[in-house]
Amino acid sequence: MEHAVHISGLEKIFMVPEREAGLVAATKSLVRRQSREVRAVDGISFDIAPGEVVGFLGPNGAGKTTTLKMLSGLLYPTGGEARILGHAPSKREKAFLRRITLVMGNRNQLQWDLPALDSYELNRAIYRIPRADFTPMRDDLIELLDVGDLVRKPVRQLSLGERMKVEIVGALLHRPQVLFLDEPTIGLDVTMQKRIRSFVATYNERHGATVLLTSHYMADVQALCKRVVVIHHGRILFDGPLTGLADQFAAYKTIGVALADGHVDLDRYGEVLHRDGDWVTLRVPKAETSQVTARLLSEQSVLDLRIEDTPIEDVIELVFAQARSE
């Protein structure tokens, strides 16, 4: 089967003007501009099958947004190839743009002073969606996101989370087959995040849409993506199942323990991550987990004890830390 997204050796190099601080340097830069090459995306390759939901992870400045922008035709790649549903995004063909959507978490594209319904009509006309397709799709999306009352209010009166929901409706009216979601839940409260998460899952299921999602909230990724691609300094560090990420990078487990005497030094059991009253969190090598637990139970007066896998946030942190030290 043809891939929905095919990327091979994709590159984006920016020339960034650069100068030392201070007036002298500023004056010099007027005459002679110094610039530096920044390899924002440095030869990445991966494929996404139709209907797959992939989490695209990386710290700030890793190249996620740059990649998404290249995939949605906003940036011309410096090198390599990208094909979305058989189209080269940089050509910005209308047939291509009609099949994708880009949602950016902190940006607004609906008419600010009008109810969202009016903006939807505008999108209907721009995407030339037949009325017979448009109305059921719109009503369906409105119901799924539970925004029936909100779409009749001027967008400026909506809260951040409400606005995001009506934005998403607007971005999906044309039934795109590939969704680029760039931090769709940023700044939203937990309930709202959950709502959007379950919505993306439902949309993916119903329409078989391919989704590439970036998010800082690992809960989003855990809920939606079986597969993650981790990018750092423009290069791919990991591409595989989310569970594999923990196996590969997290050589540790954490043991949370509550002691009768909270002041005991626990350094000899493992690395103390934090203390919260009597509750101490330790990090121990995976292989030693059971042995350390047994020692703790026999040597200390333990009130409560919990063994956990390294939280995915910490795994990601480990991945990046490892990448930095390399």
Binding site: F14, A40, T65, T66, K69, S72, G73, L74, L75, Y76, R92, K94, A95, L97, R98, I100, T101, L102, M104, N106, R107, N108, Q109, Q111, D113, L114, D118, L122, A125, I126, Y127, P154, D182, E183
Partner: protein, 274 residues
């Protein structure tokens, strides 16, 4: 070649009209919410008009003729300048300042991911409908000036006037688009945009009264002569066909150039990477 672009020829025009109409409706809906703008606009237009008329009266209290233009003829120039200013502030300026603003904020990305010609979309999204007050007041002044010209307005003059006005508007659009496209490299293009308002005031007088360097500047650099003086020449039966031909040629060249420049700018556009 840019001119053969389907967005500019044939079906493109129909689509352009369709999109303009769509956004016009949205623009009207938007502006109807701010009725106070309407009142403010009427007030501003009245002041513009009164100042213009007072200056004219002052000039003609000293002389009967200015560089071959009589007072009613200059009234026509003033009317066309106000009218064209209205067109610019209704359509051209709001769209182009929005492009500059969106380049700064990175939200232009949304326009670029729509299955429409980006230049077309960027040019029709905003309508400041209350500015139409200026278009109307300009038309009234023009009509009044024309009514006081003895020879009257022939059908040929009227047609030439309409064509010249259209070319003029196209050229002003091109000028603004070049400025807006500049925002792809120089994020702060506001100064250039603000400068335009001042320079446009020179259009109150036929460009013939200005010294050579200024005349050339407001003809080819900032095409105010084509936008105001040339239509005024048509309305006052003094337009030579060569001038109209020059206007047509220059409009086409500018349109082709801005199309190329916009695309060139777009290729360089990187957006405010989040």
């Amino acid at each position: 070649m840019a001119l053969c672009d389907p967005a500019l020829l044939g079906g493109g025009w129909v689509n352009a009209l369709r999109l303009s109409w769509l956004y016009l409706r949205v623009g009207v809906m938007n502006e109807l919410q701010y009725r106070v703008n309407f009142v403010v606009q009427i007030f501003q237009s009245a002041i513009t008009l009164l100042v213009g008329l007072a200056v004219l009266a002052l000039v003609y209290s000293h002389t009967d003729e200015l560089n071959g233009w009589t007072q009613p003829e200059l009234l026509c120039v003033l009317g066309i300048q106000i009218l064209m200013g209205g067109v610019i502030r209704t359509y051209i300026q709001p769209n182009m300042t929005r492009v500059m603003e969106e380049v700064r904020l990175g939200t232009l990305d949304y326009a670029l991911t729509k299955p429409e010609d980006a230049q077309l979309l960027a040019s029709v999204r905003e309508v400041r409908i209350w500015q139409v007050v200026d278009v109307i007041s300009g038309a009234v002044v023009l009509g009044f000036g024309l009514s006081r010209i003895e020879s009257g307005l022939s059908a040929v003059d009227a047609a030439a006037f309409a064509i010249a006005l259209l070319f003029g508007a196209v050229m002003i659009y091109c000028f603004w688009l070049v400025i807006a496209t500049g925002a792809f490299w120089v994020v702060n293009m506001w100064t250039a945009a603000e400068l335009f308002d001042g320079v446009f005031q020179t259009g109150r007088w036929p460009v013939g009264i200005y010294p050579g360097w200024l005349r050339v500047s407001v003809t080819f650099l900032v095409p105010i002569a084509f936008a105001v003086t040339v239509p005024a020449e048509a309305a006052t039966s003094r337009l030579e066909w060569q001038t109209l031909l020059l206007a047509a040629g220059f409009a086409v060249v500018l349109l082709a150039f801005t199309r190329w420049f916009w695309r060139f700018g777009l290729r360089n556009y990187t957006g405010a990477s989040a």
